[in-house]
């Protein structure tokens, strides 16, 4: 469920693209610094977006400087020269989310998959312990949402909204927590962030479910769209196409709420990049995943 929240590169200014890459590389570097080399592998566009959102509310703009990429020393990279606390919490989020994702995979997969997931879990466990100790609130939010997800899927009559709720609530709380505990709980900023987080989480859950439709049909795994649209293994390609077009409508409805929240959110920096992600990047992903004839892997930026 990673990598869906990203900008549309062709619509970014060169300057904005450089800034985005700078944030991406800084997050990677912070992951290595805080949680060890292996944890760099958890780097994702989603957590980069989270870091961007955190940086957007800093009083001063983080400057940029150039340096070398640790993974590929021949490549030059841009890094942020400040904003360490933001990158620390974004990297903790990255590690914690990956850890629970692996645990989720253990429960879902068969023998070989389980074995693979256990090996990964061993690698991730140490980093997770450290991240959870530093950010107990984040850890509690995410582990609770995993439990709720299980419960929602096992409920007698799961609907799309109830299945999307745990992920939506998770990001709602993550964004709420990002505003800091010192703020009053009902300030406009926190109310908007809550709304923003809820619908971003909802969008992520739904695009992930829609993307996995075929795979889940083959492996007979749980998927809300399979239930909602009454799909089975014998379903024709037309029926699948119809289900995807239905998913697109659900996603559009969700995006309308996300856009409305973003429009009244005051961002001090990176406003254009964040708008690009929500207004162009997310629709682009919908187009790529739901309307391309052959299955495509979304290329890296």
């Amino acid at each position: 469920m990673f990598g869906y929240v990203r900008p549309q590169k062709s619509e970014l200014l060169v300057r904005e693209y450089e800034q985005y890459k700078g944030v991406y590389c800084s997050l990677c570097r912070q992951l290595g610094k805080s949680y060890g080399m292996v944890s760099r592998l958890t780097l994702s566009y989603d957590c980069t977006f989270y870091a961007l959102m955190l940086l957007a509310f800093r009083p001063e703009c983080p400057g940029f400087q150039s340096g070398r990429c640790v993974v590929n020393p021949l490549k030059k990279c841009t890094f942020c020269s400040s904003g360490e606390p933001e990158f620390v919490s974004a990297s903790a989020l990255s590690v914690i989310m990956t850890y629970y994702k692996i645990r989720d995979d253990i429960a879902d997969s068969r023998f070989w998959g389980k074995l693979r997931a256990y090996a990964l879990l061993l690698l991730a466990a140490r980093a997770h312990r450290k991240a959870a100790a530093d950010f107990p609130r984040l850890d509690a939010i995410i582990s609770a949402s995993m439990e709720e997800q299980k419960a929602a899927e096992q409920a007698p009559d799961p609907c799309l909204d109830s299945c999307a709720e745990p992920t939506a609530k998770m990001l709602q709380q993550v964004f709420e927590a990002s505003a800091g505990e010192d703020g009053e709980p009902d300030s406009p900023k926190i109310r908007i962030l809550r709304q923003f987080g809820y619908f971003l989480g909802r969008w992520v859950y739904i695009i992930d479910a829609a993307d996995d439709m075929e795979k889940d049909l083959k492996t007979a795994s749980f998927n809300p769209f399979i239930i909602q649209c009454g799909l089975n293994e014998a379903s024709s390609p037309e029926e699948l196409e119809k289900a995807k077009s239905y998913a697109n409508e659900v996603l559009n409805l969700t995006l309308s709420q996300l856009t409305a929240a973003l429009n009244i959110l005051d961002l001090d920096h990176f406003g254009e990049i964040i708008q690009n992600v929500v207004l162009k990047g997310l629709p682009e992903i919908q187009k790529e995943l739901l309307f391309k004839k052959e299955k495509v892997h979304v290329r890296s930026l």
Binding site: P188, L253, T254, L255, A260, N263, P283, K287
Partner: protein, 213 residues
């Protein structure tokens, strides 16, 4: 009050037309239609008020400058503000409507859930949809609005809610619509180059499409 130019996102040297365009752009963003039924509608309303005030201030200031310092009376431009979505419909669920208006969504839902299924009318489905929409359960909300419209097809209130959600689903307010080609898929350049291409092909065969080249 903060700098009105900053609120509108323009520089103090911008022309009147630029300011008007910036104001319109923002007014479109904060328009109440984008937020009807949303729990953050009040915040969008405040934003709208802010830009209306900023726009009024700028217009008044510029008029004053043009009039050589004489501060004439300018009627305040109310812009899109002042649109209220108050309802004058007769209702059997006034308590629920009041709770929704006060933002007490959980209480409203509890009362609605207490209504036995045989006495659930079109308004019940509409209000249930409204409550679900506020909670972010957009699909269930859509189903409930659809049910309300089905039971009472001539009610404007239900129809408006249904239309809004339908438009949102179709990507009018952000998202992707597969039936609408992205702008720029066939630009002026494409037309010219295709014509020149066609001309070349014709010339190969001894004909001519564009006589001058």
């Amino acid at each position: 009050m903060s700098d009105p130019y900053k609120v509108l996102g323009v520089s103090p040297t911008a022309t009147d037309d630029e300011i008007k365009a910036a104001y319109r752009e923002l007014a479109k963003k904060y328009h109440p239609d984008n937020y009807s039924g949303s729990p953050i509608a009040d915040l969008a309303g405040e934003k709208m008020k802010e830009i209306n005030e900023a726009y009024d201030t700028v217009v008044a200031q510029r008029k004053q400058q043009k009039n050589g310092g004489y501060a004439g009376y300018t009627a305040p431009n109310t812009g899109y503000a002042g649109q209220s979505y108050g309802n004058s419909y007769s209702s059997g669920f006034n308590d629920v409507r009041n709770l929704i208006m006060l933002g007490r969504i959980a209480d409203a839902e509890q009362i609605l859930n207490g209504v036995p299924s045989e006495s659930r009318n079109a308004e019940w489905y509409f209000l249930k949809g409204t409550v679900l929409y506020k909670r972010g359960w957009l699909e269930e909300a859509y189903n409930n609005f659809a049910r309300a419209c089905q039971m009472d097809p001539y009610n404007g209130e239900y129809r408006a809610a249904m239309n809004q959600v339908t438009n949102q689903r179709n990507g009018v307010y952000g998202g992707y619509n597969p039936n609408v080609p992205r702008t720029g898929s066939c630009s002026g350049c494409d037309v010219c180059s295709s014509l020149i291409c066609a001309d070349c092909c014709c010339e190969c065969m001894g004909g001519d499409l564009i006589p001058c080249c």
